[in-house]
Amino acid sequence: MTLLSIEGLRTVFRTDQGDVTAVDGVDLSVARGRTLGIVGESGCGKSVLSLSVMRLIAPPGRIAAGRVMFDGRDLLSLSSAEMRALRGNRIGMIFQEPMTSLNPVFTVGEQLTEAMRAHDRRASAAELRRRAVAALDRVRIPAAARRVDDYPHQMSGGMRQRVMIAMALACGPDLVIADEPTTALDVTVQAQILDLLRELQQQSGMAIILITHDLGVVAEMADEVAVMYAGRVVERAAGAAVFDDPQHPYTIGLLGSIPRIEETRDSLLAIEGAVPAPFALPQGCRFHPRCAFAGPDCTEAQPPLLEIAPAHQAACIHAPVEAFAG
């Protein structure tokens, strides 16, 4: 059952160089108990998209169009108070840098109880503390009853990220948005955190939106994948289909760019060029200056995201590329 559905979302920033449309007409959805992976290179709009869903876009940014349907209600039409009640309660968020989201002058226990008190005013202090210890225990912080009185700086990076997860999950949310939750961590710690997220999802049935630039993380975690480029979704498919049947030339290029442990090739199939500046987007298909399959017709209009196989969409007028390339 669909829990969250994003429809035609557009988020714009006013800048010195003119208006920047960071998210431009995005449609996405995620069902209960499922994980939607969003991949794409730096600046393609992943974080702005997730902040838009949480209604955390501040001026000079604004949500210019679209709907964000969450469990039957459009989040964009809620009052600020209603939205605040949802955040941290039914929707949790995990950011890349735990240090910037944890307050250095309070113990992790104080921050956890504070977050829980906001959504449950009747619980006693002792009860909240008990719940805070349980929350830390659930994310496998050893000796939780003691570490609950630690300050964030007394913990390792992996430990702090566990605390962030504990906070995001404290109120049993239906949806968790995790923006690069493991990017700053060592691989061994990353593997532990991803295992933990998967396990907690199995226990609670929460939906996860996982934002990452790491295709390996996507392959391990995502039931469905959206590939973003320059503010738009260019491909959407079930997790395995993106790797087995990549349709958009940008997705194909990403798969060619990654070095693989189990395979050695002479040189990597990098994508030429760089991501365009958001205030100087190419006409027509935004990927065309870097695309190996581009033709003159690619500069005419932005290709719409179309169904190319069952439950598989791509925004490329030359897909499937073998038919075009001949």
Binding site: A191, E220, F243, P246, G253, G256, I258, R260, I261, A274
Partner: protein, 359 residues
């Protein structure tokens, strides 16, 4: 074989840790690098891998003589450079250069790219103005940038282009060794691939040696000839690349390999990865430093320090139980699905057609 370009022997660097603002007192010692030995041949790439804080950057700085060692020696082209000072040290700097992780922080924002590339030539008194201009142009060409880029400032470039500038600057004085400290970690995958290809291409053309620091083992698998795995300031395993990936003989190496997320949705889930966090480098565990996290730990490991000992030709490991480790499951060669393989092949064939503009 001729003498190695670089020989590092028993290198250590310890830092005193002090606490207290008014009367700082020594509360301990961080053994950032603790008895590291390796060699690097001409034209070879040795990768240093390991988790954050294991001493990779400190090792690099020691090799470059940017920090002074607590113990040990560094030999470059057969010459002991450990105590070099003054003019000889300045001359040596021409032969060893460094490329950093953060291309932005390492380029002066107020200098044009031309001036940035010319600076090392001036410092080392290489050529007259006309010669230097020609050299700047040549360097830009080498790293896939255009001559008009010389007039631009760093902020006008993308991350990948800035890393190309950093590489061109390192190449300016024709070094024999380039230390690459996480040169692609901050870049997007498509750009990372461009820079990795560039580094390999330059190595082939110029016969460079790389000391390549990275935490991404997939990148290392791609670029390295040999790999040294570090844990808490020490090398725990060192081997030719293929041996290290196919038959790792240290549990920590296996832990790292198991933890890498693979871009293969059909791969079976890895075994649970060694638990726990890295111990504090101020108080490394007794015996084997990895014993607090090691799935193969036995009593002996807690008491006896395992020596780095030969396992096979060029393959050394520091584990008491190297013989007992089970054979690695032969990793299924990542078989791409037919549709993906077909499209990647098409992509490879057509890639040259994209205007080969600088990335």
């Amino acid at each position: 074989m001729t003498a190695p370009l670089l020989e590092v022997e028993n290198l250590s660097r310890h830092y005193a840790v002090r606490r207290g603002l008014i009367l700082p007192r020594r509360v301990g010692t961080v053994r950032a690098v603790d008895g590291v030995s390796f060699t690097l041949a001409r034209g070879e790439t040795l990768a240093l891998v390991g988790e954050s804080g294991c001493g990779k950057s400190t090792t690099a700085r020691l090799v470059l003589r940017l920090v002074e060692p607590t113990t040990g020696t560094v030999r470059f082209q057969g010459e002991d450079i450990t105590d070099l000072q003054g003019e000889p040290l300045r001359k040596l700097r021409r032969r060893m250069q460094i490329v950093f992780q953060d291309p932005f922080a390492s380029l002066n924002p107020r200098m044009t790219v031309g001036a940035i590339l010319e600076e090392p030539l001036i410092v080392h008194g290489l050529g007259d103005a006309a010669h230097r201009r020609a050299r700047v142009e040549e360097l830009l060409g080498l790293v896939g940038l255009a001559s008009f880029h010389a007039q631009r400032y760093p902020h006008e470039f993308s991350g990948g282009q800035r890393q190309r500038i950093g590489i061109a600057r390192a190449l300016a004085v024709e070094p024999a060794l380039i230390v690459c400290d996480e040169p692609v970690s901050a870049l997007d995958v498509s750009i990372q691939a461009q820079v990795v290809n560039l580094l390999e291409d330059l190595q082939r053309r110029l016969g460079l040696s790389y000391l390549f620091i990275a935490h991404d083992l997939a990148v290392v698998k791609h670029v390295a000839d040999r790999v040294a795995v570090m844990y808490l300031g020490q090398i725990v395993e060192i081997a030719p690349k293929d041996a290290l990936f196919a038959d790792p003989r240290h549990p920590y190496t296996r832990t790292l390999l198991a933890a890498i997320p693979r871009p293969d949705p059909h791969r079976e889930r890895h075994d649970p990865v060694a638990g726990g966090d890295m111990p504090s480098p101020m108080a490394p565990p007794d015996g084997c430093r990895f014993h607090t996290r090691c799935p193969f730990v036995v009593e002996r490991c807690k008491r006896e320090v395992p020596a780095l000992r030969p396992w096979a030709a060029g393959h050394l490991t520091a584990c008491h139980r190297a013989e007992d480790l089970p054979a690695m499951e032969t990793a299924r060669a990542a078989s791409l699905a037919p549709a993906a393989a077909k499209r990647l092949a098409l992509y490879e064939a057509r890639r040259g057609r994209v205007a080969a503009g600088a990335g």
